[in-house]
Symmetry: C2
């Protein structure tokens, strides 16, 4: 039996963003118990870091995770950022697609989904409201407010249950959320490893974490230097599309298209605009709203052919090779570390990025699997650890393509090595929603390879030198073991005293070794034994 359209459309309706994500929480990265909790940590930590840095404050976070019951946790997260003014609190935590970071600026978060996603997950799994205490400056005063609220998914807004003024000593936000159906894990994709990796890439931050067993972990600052605040940079002409130009034209307050171009794009001088006008014959004095799509397209095509200076790199703030080294030393305590920060490059013709890499060997480098040490890759984008979707990521792909044998590492899988890679960009080309893997742009693959090969060469030199030193030590030890024995036996045979030989021996073995250090027992055995090499090779 056929049904007609009007009947079928009776049930037509529109969802709010909150309702939509309530039905599709996996789109927020909330899938699986371990991953869900790691995503919550990720959202809260990156938000706190971004907020503190934007306000010029050295980030300090304390996190307390209590286990109430199997799969049921209470999370308390507190930062020292600028705080959130009272009238924005429910907007930040209960309105999806709302945020202050929709700009062309390098930041950890960008989508206006992070905090509200955590509140949604908490509410969906426990029905409990969120509790927030915010301290924020207003003039010379620090105001404090405490609020409990729920998210009304039908309206995508907050529903305040309770609100009161409180006294606070300093600015910052403390949030308390409960979760069920999540799981705290020490695995590579778990929350603890997420914090540890965050600390390597953010050595200027301090994090105190009390885990569900009550153990307190203090991740100290490895450096006191606050990274400079990335500047908002205008989009580069090579990075814009016709749609971007039309969109800008539609929402600008400029009165001429000419001035829209010079004020909205980087590297766009009046001279350049005149050139464009001459080549395209488009009247750029027209009002922005009168710009036609075909004209915008023509301009973008011309952009592709013109030479522009690379985008300004004041918008990109790398961690820096010294800082990465400090972070790695603090967390991994390795035997050897090499780091590098490459010069800015661009992909897709106009989006600039920087690749940084580090390699750590020995100490706590690598990953323990059973009773074996394996190598591990730590991927980061704008200092944020990427914990999932490793397989499809350009950073992984580039590292896997390196012929490690050429760098003296015969079996990379089973070597205690940690390779660190960070991509810095205002527009990291993520492959998926969860922002967990980077698209394989040629220029990015190339830069990751170059960076890693450079530090791999340093590691190779270190390993070669270590090997040579070890061989030399073995040779020396043989001298140091045999010479005294021969001298002693020779002295007995010739009926003379053992001569003073320590000084000459030390000169030959090139180390001021004194006889006392040789194990007497070993010496005793040596006189009875033929094979000594094995015992000395400690």
């Amino acid at each position: 039996m056929e049904r007609e359209a009007s009947e079928l459309f009776e049930e037509f309706k529109e969802l709010t963003a909150s309702e939509f994500f309530r039905r599709n929480k996996q789109m927020l990265g909330f899938s699986g118990k371990i991953r869900s909790l790691t995503m919550v940590f990720h959202e809260l930590i990156t938000n706190s870091f971004d907020a503190a840095e934007e306000a010029g404050i050295q980030p300090e976070i304390s996190i307390d995770l209590k286990r109430v019951d199997k799969d049921h946790y209470i999370l308390k997260h507190k930062d020292n950022g600028p705080g959130i003014p009272e009238n924005y609190i429910t907007k930040v935590y209960c309105t999806m697609f709302a945020g202050s970071k929709f700009r062309n600026i390098q930041s950890r978060g960008q989508q206006g989904l992070g905090c509200s996603g955590c509140v949604l997950l908490s509410q969906m799994t426990t029905g409990k409201p969120a509790r927030v205490i915010s301290g924020y400056k207003k003039g010379d005063e620090i105001k404090g407010v405490e609020m409990t609220f729920k998210m009304d998914v039908k309206t995508n807004k907050g529903l305040i249950l309770n609100k009161k003024k409180v006294d606070v000593d300093s600015t910052g936000v403390a949030i308390e959320l409960q979760f069920k159906d999540v799981s705290y894990s020490l695995s590579e994709q778990g929350a603890f490893e997420y914090i540890r990796r965050s600390m390597i890439a953010n050595p200027h931050a301090k994090v105190t974490f009390r885990d569900p067993t009550g153990q307190l972990f203090i991740f100290h600052r490895a450096t006191e230097i606050i990274p400079p605040l990335p500047k908002e940079v205008l989009p580069h002409p090579k990075g814009v599309t016709a749609d971007d130009l039309i969109f800008m034209a539609k929402h600008t307050d400029k009165r001429r298209f000419r001035s829209l171009l010079t004020s909205s794009l980087s590297r766009m001088s009046t001279k350049r605009v005149n050139e464009i006008e001459e080549i395209t014959k488009i009247d750029l004095n027209k009002r922005p709203k009168d710009m036609k799509w075909e004209e915008a397209e023509q301009i973008v095509e011309l952009f592709a052919q013109m030479d522009f200076m690379a985008p300004p790199t004041s918008g990109l703030i790398p961690i820096g090779k010294e800082q990465i080294e400090k972070g790695i030393r603090e967390i991994l305590n390795p035997e050897f570390v090499a780091t590098t920060t490459r010069k800015p490059k661009t992909y897709r013709g106009g989006v600039s990025f920087i690749i940084e890499a580090g390699i750590a060997y020995g100490g706590n480098s690598g990953r323990v699997v059973g009773d074996q040490k394996r190598s591990e890759i730590m991927r980061f984008a704008n200092r944020v650890p990427l914990s999932f979707d490793q397989g499809s990521c350009a950073l992984t792909e580039a590292l896997k393509s390196i012929d490690w044998k050429r760098y003296g590492i015969r079996d990379i899988e089973n070597t205690p090595i940690t390779v660190f890679v960070n991509i810095v960009s205002t527009n990291v080309p993520y492959l998926s929603t969860g922002k967990q893997s980077v698209a394989p742009e040629d220029e990015i693959l190339h830069e990751v390879r170059q960076a890693t090969m450079k530090i791999a060469r340093s590691l190779q030199k270190y390993l070669n030198a270590k090997r040579a030193a070890k061989e030399e030590e073995m040779r020396s030890k043989i001298f140091e073991t045999y010479v005294p024995v021969i001298l002693k036996e020779a002295a007995i045979l010739s009926g003379r005293d053992v001569p003073e030989y320590e000084y000459i021996l030390a000169k030959v073995t090139r180390r001021p070794k004194i006889l006392d250090e040789i194990d007497k027992e070993t010496l005793q055995e040596l006189t009875n034994d033929d094979m000594v090499g094995d015992k000395d090779d400690e």
Copy 2:
């Protein structure tokens, strides 16, 4: 220099869903030129199929893809569905998160993003408006309307540029969209393969496709049977969360929680409700809005312990083993095909699903790589081909875990086999936004293995029989070749005539082979040659 919160929040704003996805189009599956076009085909085709079936119409689609320029295409897509009433057209195509399919029903699309996503991509890449002609019934009349419109991303609404009444012969929607930065490809992930696979899983549909070279492909119906319309089923108690109960309670028009339970959940009798009341001591006569979270949680916990009948399966409509076979025969023209449709099972305690599988051997089965035939896996969810993210999908994982050698297939990679798997469910547990891979639920993995092993055994029997027949034929051919020669030579030696032996030989070789069929030349050679086996093994 520290900055205070109010300053930082000056730039706080809220995006519409359209604005959000304009910035994050990869979340709609639009990443890469080939994939983007395949996703457009996917959205339009599944929408047409769903609409036609919901209206009780046998789907028929015609698609015309013209190439205007490199990476620039005009797509015309026309269906014979019920059409869209005039006042819903821009809602369907320009408002994200709007749709008529947010119900607990088995359908191909579900998220209210498909069609509007295509319009967004078209607009972002070409600036061109969409053109739609809709024919729909109103009473006994068929109304026709033609519209051109754009999407206003700032408001998440349509902007009508032109609208007029037109005469139409039948119901249905025709849409014309232009795209740039997309690419038509014949690869496994391209648009053509997407259509081909769709036809295997939808043998009741007809699709006419004109490709950019002008070639016309007509995919005929392999069956005239319209699949029954899936029924909307009430959620099963084992599938609901406390949050679902609270959400239902908040938006119901029932006056007692008791009646909410019996009317909103399947398998929930008054007897069951009384049991729940007795065990939990919760007064179920209370108003739904008075239900507390803890009470909802208590009820859900009790659901987990109670025994319920499995969910009604009237909501699940599999393709059916005969129909899959017809689809496979029509498209792959294989030498052998086996198919199976399993009984409904549940995962996560209450979500029912059905696994169907098919295996095709020979003919156009498998995938051509260079000049070699390889095996291929075709994954489907509710008849929709899953073209991407194969690696992380439970369907692939289950198939890879099968020991194909046990089924007489020594080298599965290099065998001309196509394995077809379809999961049918009101709630397919997708892993990612793009709905391209299925989560590895134990029950799903198990069912896929069982289904595939069953049809693999049929294939094994066929291959064994084929092998045995071939060997028998070889044996027979040896008889048929040698016996006449021996008889002839013996006749010459004994000076007699060659006797009549054909009838007896045919009895021995069990085939009525007559002498004429033996190649005279071969016979000639045989008399001069010792080795004959090779020549007969044709």
